[in-house]
Structure formats: structure tokens, C-alpha cells
């Protein structure tokens, strides 16, 4: 059996699922790490120190990309659900979505990379 060669819709749906699960996993981890404060400052400060490493800075950029993609794709799906007649333009809508993604992601990514480079990562 081979991978089904669906179009744009199949891959946008796959990424929607992946980014959704990814963001959910992050939220679970985030709830756990903030809960560490209940065990006192030692473990909490330790995890916060890790959050300030460049590696986590890069992971934060990936997190931002996942949230942004999931949000924009979600809006596209909502538009299609409320206005089924827009389905005739679904490819165009996806390209507009990705253009918006690039427009927002690239400058934010540059700012976040700048923070990492300058060691200003909060």
C-alpha cells in the first residue's frame, strides 16, 4: 500500500492535526512545569533556566509556527463551513492563508532569532 496522493487539502489537514497535537502536548508540559512551583523554587528555577537556552528558543519559534498555522488554517475551515460556496476557491484560499502565514511568521521569527542571538531570550 502506498501513501494516497491527495491534494493541498489532504496536506493542510495533516498539518492541522499535527500542529494541533503538538500545541496540546506543549500545553500539557507547560501546565506541569508551572505546577513545579508547588514543590518550591529549586525545581521551578531549574526548568526556567532550561527555557532560557537557545535550544528552547528555537523550539519556541516552532511553537509559534504551529500555533499560527493552526489558527489560520482553522479560520479557513470556518469560512468554508459557514460559506460552502467558497469551496470553489479552496486552493486560492490556502495560498492566501500561507501568504498571511509568511507575512506574520517571517518578521516574528527574525525578532525571536534576534533575541536568541543577543542572549536576551526571556
Amino acid at each position: 500500500m502506498s501513501i494516497y496522493r491527495g491534494g493541498i487539502g489532504q496536506w493542510s489537514w495533516t498539518f492541522h492535526r499535527l500542529t494541533g497535537v503538538g500545541v496540546l502536548l506543549f500545553l500539557l508540559v507547560h501546565i506541569l512545569d508551572t505546577a513545579l512551583i508547588m514543590m518550591g523554587p529549586h525545581w521551578y528555577n531549574k526548568i526556567i533556566r532550561f527555557y532560557r537556552t537557545p535550544l528552547f528558543g528555537l523550539m519556541e519559534i516552532a511553537l509559534f509556527a504551529a500555533v499560527l498555522y493552526h489558527a489560520l488554517n482553522g479560520v479557513r475551515i470556518i469560512v468554508i463551513d459557514f460559506r460552502p460556496e467558497t469551496t470553489v476557491h479552496y486552493k486560492k484560499m490556502f495560498f492566501i492563508q500561507m501568504a498571511l502565514f509568511a507575512l506574520i511568521f517571517i518578521p516574528v521569527c527574525i525578532i525571536m532569532l534576534g533575541h536568541i542571538a543577543q542572549g536576551l531570550h526571556p
Binding site: Y4, G6, G9
Partner: protein, 232 residues
């Protein structure tokens, strides 16, 4: 020209798992993939099993995965296909032999949406009149040939065989939006549940797979909207 085919063969009497077999046949570039299958079955291996009937894109018998995508073998020209031409049975149904799948569950769901006119008023003496605009409303979904290409291209259906599927929803749409029909409520109650229209994730594989060019996702969206609004 010599054309190479790779076919995912499965004989339940001999094989535990499906396996790929390669065949080379002489074809014209203007021949269809179905002509290639006919040549293989006729000249090389008579045990090859697939469905075909009209061979002209009308009966919907020969839908299969050709080079990774659902297509009708009788509408796919060899010259437009990348070689080797890889053929698999449609996904999500039980494979009976080679490319013959059990369409039983597919037609059960088709019947579940009551794909026939349900009279809403006393039968008129002559024909039931309908304006051009009223007919236009469901024109797209009258084109369905029940090949199953849409339903078996849908990831929601692959992961949940209970999903009523795009083809049955298209059939329901054809009657729900017909001004002469009075059975919309009955059909909408079949579609307004977990295994109904709400399983559609607007993946659009159905739109790309439909050999008749039906905007299946739009039809499903319109049915969703009618349910959300509480009626036609």
C-alpha cells in the same frame, strides 16, 4: 509503446498479504489504463480481477487507485500517467480479489439516505413542475455515478468505516434540495449524527477524486448548513 504496470495483486485463496506484480504490455499512447488491464487479463494473466462495465466513464465500475490517486481506469489515459503505472484497490473496503472490493457497506449507506423521491403532497395528474432555478439548485449532485472514488479517498472514512461517506451525502443532497421532494427531514436526521456530515473535515480529497467533477465538499457543506439552520 511498451507500458509497465505494477499491480497490487491479492487472491484470498492463495495470498496472506497483497503483493506487487509487474507486467509489460504494448499499448497506444491514446489507450486508457483500462485497456492496459484488459491486455494483461486477456494476454498474460486471466486470473486478474477487476470490475468494468460500460468502459466510458458512465457506470462507475472501475474506480481504483491509479498512481496513488482514485481514478476511473476507463478515463485515465496511459500517456498522462507516470510509469510504472501502479494500481491498487480502493481504500477502506474489504478487498475480495485484486481490485474487486466489497461495495456492500457503501450501498447500505447509500440506501440509508433514502435516495429516491419522497412525495410531499398528493400525486399530481401530470408532471411535477419545477423552475430552472429550482433545478439548478441540485444540478451538480445529479451527476454522481456511485463509483465510490470520493468515499474511498476520504481520510475520515479510512479511519472510521462507520462514516456515511461523501457519496451518500451527495445522494442525500440531490433530494434534500429538490423542490419536489418532501423527505428532507428524514434524510437530515440520518446525516445529523456522529457518523453523518459532521465527520467531514473539509479535506477536499473527494473533490479531487470525483471523475464527474462534482464539488462534493460544497454539497456536504450545504447539508451541514441546512442542519445547523434547522431546515431547508
Amino acid at each position: 509503446m511498451e507500458v509497465t504496470f505494477q499491480l497490487l495483486r491479492f487472491d484470498p485463496l492463495k495470498d496472506r498479504q497483497p503483493h506487487w506484480e509487474t507486467y509489460r504490455v504494448e499499448l497506444e499512447p491514446t489507450d486508457r489504463v483500462l485497456d492496459g488491464l484488459e491486455a494483461i487479463k486477456g494476454q498474460m494473466d486471466g486470473t486478474l480481477a477487476y470490475r468494468r462495465s460500460c468502459a466510458h466513464g458512465v457506470c462507475g465500475s472501475d474506480a481504483m487507485i491509479i498512481n496513488g490517486r482514485n481514478r476511473l481506469a476507463c478515463k485515465a489515459l496511459v500517456k498522462n500517467m507516470k510509469e510504472p503505472i501502479r494500481i491498487e484497490p480502493m481504500r477502506g473496503f474489504k478487498v475480495l480479489k485484486d481490485f474487486v472490493v466489497d461495495m456492500g457497506p457503501f450501498f447500505e449507506k447509500y440506501r440509508a439516505v433514502k435516495p429516491y423521491l419522497i412525495e410531499k403532497e398528493a400525486r399530481p395528474q401530470k408532471e411535477r413542475l419545477q423552475s430552472q432555478e429550482e433545478r439548478e439548485r441540485f444540478d451538480d449532485t445529479t451527476k454522481c455515478i456511485l463509483c465510490g472514488a470520493c468515499t474511498t479517498s476520504c481520510p475520515s472514512f479510512w479511519f472510521n468505516a462507520g462514516y456515511v461517506g461523501p457519496a451518500a451525502i451527495v445522494q442525500a443532497h440531490r433530494f434534500i434540495f429538490d423542490s419536489r421532494d418532501g423527505g428532507a427531514e428524514e434524510r437530515l436526521s440520518v446525516l445529523n449524527n456522529q457518523e453523518g456530515v459532521w465527520r467531514c473535515r473539509t479535506v477536499f480529497n473527494c473533490v479531487e477524486a470525483c471523475p464527474r467533477g462534482i464539488n462534493v465538499t460544497r454539497a456536504i457543506g450545504e447539508v451541514k448548513k441546512v442542519i445547523a439552520k434547522g431546515g431547508r
